[in-house]
Symmetry: C2
Subunit: 248 residues, 2 copies
DNA sequence: CGATTGCCTTGATCAGGATCAAATGAAAGG
DNA sequence: CCTTTCATTTGATCCTGATCAAGGCAATCG
């Protein structure tokens, strides 16, 4: 089961320019009008910080384009990524003013923001939004739990294979898991970010990437350009059940 | 920051016999009456399975007493606990019929159940419940992310210290972190369950428990009876920030 | 009462990743 | 063009926690 790919499926608004519609269960109606009025955009460039853990955070937002990551850091510098936000994902929680982790733009990033207070009020009066948000949060919780299995029990090789599967599946169009041809995509993460995602060191990530390459499971043309010739064969290395997960 | 303890705080109904009030933002009103009519209880004894991953699950429930655990298992038997449910915690998700992980009674357990369909309908008409559920889910997500940091980056010793801190803090009454005296409590988990929680083997758990004992951070009188003479000293071993976390 | 079972401890050894260190390569800038 | 910088690779070594294997200790049961 993928960590993030599935989240997009139910409400993905495709080319719709108003990606924040993802927060609304229906892409029209009066609540959308209210959201329209409230929204404003913020852009960040790759590497830039959005908020620090402990900062006051007076807005909630959804990702329009690019990738953001949530990370937790220990005093001595050990770091663990705890969330990877793709377009249409949501950050920030109603009812909490202090950010519990760092939010960073991993690639160039555009977010669609709403000030928290009015957003909360709107939520109170429009049950659709609260319900949609609940759904999204439950999906994220499931993803987090899958991730916990990865962190706690998988080998380095399985971790890498899992991450690559997730990214490959996402790039191929979500449910087209029947896609039999080769899949190619650009890695949006550095080796270090991959390491933070997987609970490894960057050296181990590098070594295992090359091991997968040696074994013919992926091709690495340009360090960040990945080709997966046979998705199922890669998926076999993840340690996950073969079926690929199920929902609803 | 504790993983589970904090979840109880905002809505803990104390001695209230109707613990499932935790799902309702207000412990009265018409929605409670509806919940009252719908509820039914189920009991399990320690070790008994509640649902298997992949099973159809036609109910949602909240824990009345005892402890339940959520675990994920790989084909080869590697297991990772991904949730520990304490009284007033909620299981099951509206809109999903298939259980994504095993639910097991860790101790004797009583759950207050609601059939899923009517519960969902009720949720649609009573925004309070949806909102309360959203809050609880967000708390659980935060807990899961803290847990990810533990699994991905902490040493065995830090992991054990973290778990014991969580349990100690819970038993002492949640926010009474100023409790300066010794704290004592019964471990609700076997060494193996602790290992599954922490992403370790039971041998390592055993060794590190005894290491903490040797270092005077905990006393082990009866294998399952823990005394923490100085909570702050234990908390220093967790690798977490000293302050103990913050909310809202 | 001895035998069984479940849970925990302890010891010896091994190995998967971490760590430390250096080299490579590519892109950006002066 | 040379230098700098950043991401990545590669190598050598170390160490934490896993693995394999006994043994201890209560509680339960025949």
């Amino acid at each position: 089961m993928s960590l993030h790919a599935l989240k997009l499926a139910p409400q993905d608004c495709g080319d719709c320019p108003i990606r924040h519609r993802a927060v609304c269960a229906r892409c029209d109606g009066p609540e959308l009008a209210k959201l329209e009025e409230m929204k404003y955009y913020r852009s960040f460039e790759a590497g830039q910080n959005v908020v620090w853990s402990g900062d006051r955070m007076d807005f909630v937002a959804s990702v329009v384009s690019g990738i953001a990551s949530l990370t937790q850091t220990m005093e001595d510098g050990r770091r663990q990524m705890v969330g990877l936000l793709l377009p249409s994902d949501f950050v920030g929680r109603p009812g909490r003013t202090i950010a519990p982790y760092d939010v960073t733009a991993t690639t160039d990033l555009v977010m669609c923001c709403f000030r928290r207070k009015p957003f909360e009020e709107m939520m109170g009066s429009t049950p659709h939004v609260a319900q949609r948000l609940l759904e999204m949060t439950l999906d994220e919780l499931d993803a987090a739990r899958e991730w916990m299995l990865l962190l706690g029990r998988k080998t380095a090789r399985e971790k890498i294979a899992s991450l690559l599967s997730i990214l490959a599946r996402r790039d191929v169009g979500l449910k087209a898991k029947a896609a039999k041809g080769p899949i190619s995509f650009d890695l949006p993460l550095t080796r270090e970010e991959m390491a933070d995602y997987l609970g490894l060191t960057l050296e181990t990530v590098s070594r295992q990437m090359n091991a997968l390459k040696r074994d013919g499971l992926v091709e690495l043309e340009e360090k960040r350009r990945i080709v997966v010739p046979n998705f199922d064969r890669l998926a076999n290395e993840t340690g996950d059940d073969s079926d690929g997960g199920f929902l609803s």
